[in-house]
C-alpha cells in the first residue's frame, strides 16, 4: 500500500472550487484508458460513458480488470494513458485535496462490505457524517435511522458487524455508501456470496436508491442474471478490453460469442477453460531430467 499522496485531508476553499462538477457533463467518462502494474497490462483502450442517473454494469470474469476501473474512477490508481473524467473533472489531474473533496461526492460499496469491525452498525453509518460535517448529534441520529430504514435495517442499528449475515452487512454498507447523499455510488461485486433472497434484496435496493436519490451507479459484477434485471446499460470486459456492450435487451439478444458464453455459463469459449500451457501430449511424453 502506498502512502496517501499528501499527508493531509484538510478542506480548503481552493480544493472545493477545484472539484466543482459540470452539471452538463456525463457522470463518468473514460476515454482510451490504459493501465498496467509495472509492465503487466491490466486495461487497454477502455472507453465508456456513464450518464447521470443511470445504473451501468461492468461485467467480466474474475481478473479481467473490472475493479481496476473502479479504482481509476475513485483516483486510487492513475491511468498509464487516456482520460478519466468524473462530472467533467479529470480525476488523475486533481490535487490531493481536490481529490479528497471529490471523494466526498462518492459512495462505495466494497465486495464484503468493509464495515469497521470495532464500530456498531449505527456508528458505521454515522462515521462519514461525523468526519465531514458539523451536524448536531440529534440530526446525525435521525439521518442514520433514515438511511437504515431505507435498507430495512433500522432495527439492527445496535448490532456489531460480526453479528450480521452477509446480506445484512452488504445492506449496512449500502446505507453507509449513501450516508452523505453522493452523486455517484460504485459497487464492487455487490452480489458476491449472497443467498438468492439477499441477492434480490440488494439488487432491488440498488435500483430503488438510484432512482429515489437521483444518483448514478456503477456496478462491477459477474452476476449476469441479477444485473440484467436492474441495470440500464452493460459493458463486458475481458483481458483488459471492452469486448461488448449494450442495453439489457440488446445483451439478451446478442449473438456475440463472449456475451453468449457469459450468459450461458459455458466453461469454454472466447474465455478458455485451460490456462496457457504447452501441448498436453508433448508435456506428458517429455523427457524428465
Amino acid at each position: 500500500m502506498s502512502l496517501p499522496a499528501k499527508p493531509s485531508s484538510s478542506r480548503t476553499a481552493e480544493a472545493i472550487a477545484a472539484c466543482r462538477v459540470d452539471p452538463a457533463a456525463a457522470a463518468v467518462e473514460l476515454t482510451d484508458v490504459s493501465f498496467a502494474y509495472d509492465v503487466r497490462p491490466i486495461l487497454t483502450g477502455i472507453t465508456m460513458t456513464i450518464p447521470r442517473g443511470k445504473i451501468v454494469a461492468i461485467m467480466g470474469a474474475s481478473g479481467s480488470g473490472k475493479t481496476t476501473i473502479l479504482r481509476l474512477i475513485g483516483g486510487q490508481l492513475r491511468p498509464k494513458s487516456g482520460q478519466v473524467r468524473v462530472g467533467g473533472l479529470s480525476v488523475p489531474d486533481l490535487e490531493p485535496e481536490a481529490l479528497y473533496e471529490l471523494r466526498r461526492k462518492f459512495g462505495m460499496l466494497f465486495q464484503f462490505g468493509a464495515l469497521f469491525t470495532d464500530m456498531s452498525v449505527f456508528e458505521n453509518i454515522a462515521f462519514p457524517m461525523r468526519e465531514h460535517t458539523e451536524l448536531p448529534e440529534e440530526l446525525i441520529r435521525d439521518l442514520v435511522l433514515m438511511k437504515l430504514h431505507a435498507v430495512g435495517l433500522r432495527g439492527a442499528a445496535h448490532l456489531m458487524p460480526a453479528e450480521l449475515s452477509g446480506g445484512m452487512a452488504r445492506r449496512v454498507a449500502l446505507a453507509r455508501a449513501i450516508a452523505l447523499d453522493p452523486m455517484l455510488v460504485m459497487y464492487d461485486e455487490p452480489f458476491a456470496g449472497l443467498d438468492p433472497i439477499s441477492l434480490g434484496v440488494v439488487g432491488q435496493l440498488i435500483r430503488r436508491l438510484n432512482d429515489v436519490l437521483s444518483i448514478t451507479s456503477v456496478v462491477v459484477t459477474h452476476d449476469v442474471y441479477e444485473s440484467l434485471k436492474i441495470v440500464d446499460y452493460l459493458y463486458f470486459v475481458s483481458g483488459g478490453r471492452i469486448v461488448a456492450s449494450g442495453t439489457p435487451e440488446e445483451v439478451r439478444a446478442s449473438g456475440d460469442p463472449f456475451v453468449r458464453q457469459f450468459i450461458d455459463g459455458a466453461p469454454d469459449g472466447p474465455v478458455p477453460f485451460h490456462y496457457p500451457a504447452p501441448a498436453y501430449r508433448e508435456e506428458l511424453f517429455a523427457d524428465v531430467g
Binding site: M1, L3, P4, P7, S8, S9, G74, Q76, Y100, E101, R103, R104, F106, M108, F110, Q111, F112, A114, L115, F116, T117, F127, P128, E131, H132
Partner: protein, 271 residues
C-alpha cells in the same frame, strides 16, 4: 574462469544489489511514513478520544503482564543479588542494586520487550486486518485519511503508554525486591529504603530510564503501525507482519539500549 562460475557470481551480485536497494527503498518508505504520521500528530491530539482509546488498548490492557513480570523480576533480582552481595559483606546494599538495575536497565528494556509482544503485535494485526478487509481502502474512498484516523492515534497511544508502563514495571519490581529482601531474607527495612534513597538519583538514573522507555516506545510503535500498514493483505501477510513486529522491535530495543547506555552512563558511579 568458467562461464558457470561467472554466471553464479553475476547472480550473487544481482541478489546483493537487489537486497541493498530493497532495504534502502524500504528505509525511505519508513521515513516518509514517519513524517506523515508526525504531520498528523496535531490532529491525533485534537481528537483526543481516539488517542485515549489507543492508550487504553496499548497501555491499560498491558498492565497485568507488565505488573506481574515486574514483580517477579524484582523478586528474582533480589534473591540473586543478595547471594552475590553477601559474599562481599554488602547484603545491606540490596535496595540500591535492585532499584538501579530496574530503573536504569530492566524496567525500560523488559517492559519494552513485553510491550512489543503484547501491544505491538496487536497493533500490527489490527491495522493489517483492517487493510485485508478493505477497511482502510473504504476510509480513503470516504475521503478520510487512514494515517490520520487509524495510524497516528495508535502510534501516539503506544508512545505515551510505554514510559508509564516502564515506570510501573520498575515500581512493582522494587516492591518485589522488597518482599524478598526484607520479610523473607531479613534485611533491615530502613537499610533497604535508605540505601536506595541515597544511591539512586533522579538525574541521571530515573530520567535516563524515562528517556530510554520513550525511545523504545517510539521504536516499537513505529515498527508496529508500519508493519500493519505495509502488510500484504492476506492471512499469511498479516501473520508475517505480526512476527516481524515482535522480532524487529525486540532487536531494535536491545540495540538502542546498548547505544543509549554507552552515552548515558559512561563514567557514572554506582553509588
Amino acid at each position: 574462469m568458467s562461464a558457470e562460475l561467472t554466471a553464479g557470481i553475476a547472480q550473487l551480485l544481482r541478489r546483493i544489489g537487489g537486497t541493498v536497494t530493497g532495504a534502502a527503498s524500504k528505509l525511505g518508505f519508513v521515513s516518509r511514513f514517519l513524517l506523515a504520521v508526525l504531520w498528523h500528530t496535531p490532529g491525533a491530539f485534537r481528537r483526543m478520544h481516539l488517542t485515549l482509546r489507543e492508550i487504553y488498548f496499548a497501555g491499560v490492557l498491558s498492565l497485568v503482564i507488565i505488573l506481574m513480570s515486574g514483580l517477579f523480576v524484582g523478586m528474582v533480582l533480589s534473591l540473586q543479588g543478595y547471594e552475590t552481595l553477601k559474599r562481599y559483606g554488602a547484603g545491606e546494599q540490596l535496595g540500591i542494586l535492585v532499584a538501579l538495575s530496574l530503573v536504569r536497565e530492566l524496567g525500560p528494556v523488559m517492559s519494552g520487550l513485553l510491550f512489543a509482544s503484547r501491544a505491538g503485535s496487536a497493533m500490527t494485526a489490527e491495522i493489517g486486518l483492517m487493510k485485508t478487509t478493505e477497511q482502510l481502502a473504504a476510509m480513503e474512498m470516504m475521503a478520510v485519511d487512514p494515517l490520520a484516523r487509524v495510524v497516528a492515534p495508535r502510534f501516539w497511544g503506544g508512545v505515551i503508554s510505554m514510559p508509564l508502563l516502564a515506570a510501573l514495571f520498575s515500581a512493582f519490581g522494587i516492591f518485589g525486591g522488597y518482599i524478598v529482601g526484607v520479610p523473607l531474607i531479613g534485611i533491615d527495612a530502613g537499610a533497604f529504603w535508605g540505601q536506595m534513597k541515597a544511591g539512586v538519583d533522579f538525574w541521571p538514573d530515573v530520567t535516563n530510564g524515562i528517556i530510554k522507555s520513550f525511545v523504545f516506545g517510539v521504536a516499537v510503535s513505529l515498527i508496529a503501525v508500519f508493519e500493519g500498514y505495509d502488510a500484504k493483505p492476506t492471512a499469511e501477510g498479516v501473520s508475517s507482519a505480526t512476527t516481524r513486529t515482535v522480532v524487529m522491535s525486540s532487536l531494535a530495543i536491545l540495540a538502542l539500549d546498548f547505544v543509549m547506555t554507552v552515552f548515558m552512563f559512561r563514567g557514572a558511579s554506582v553509588v
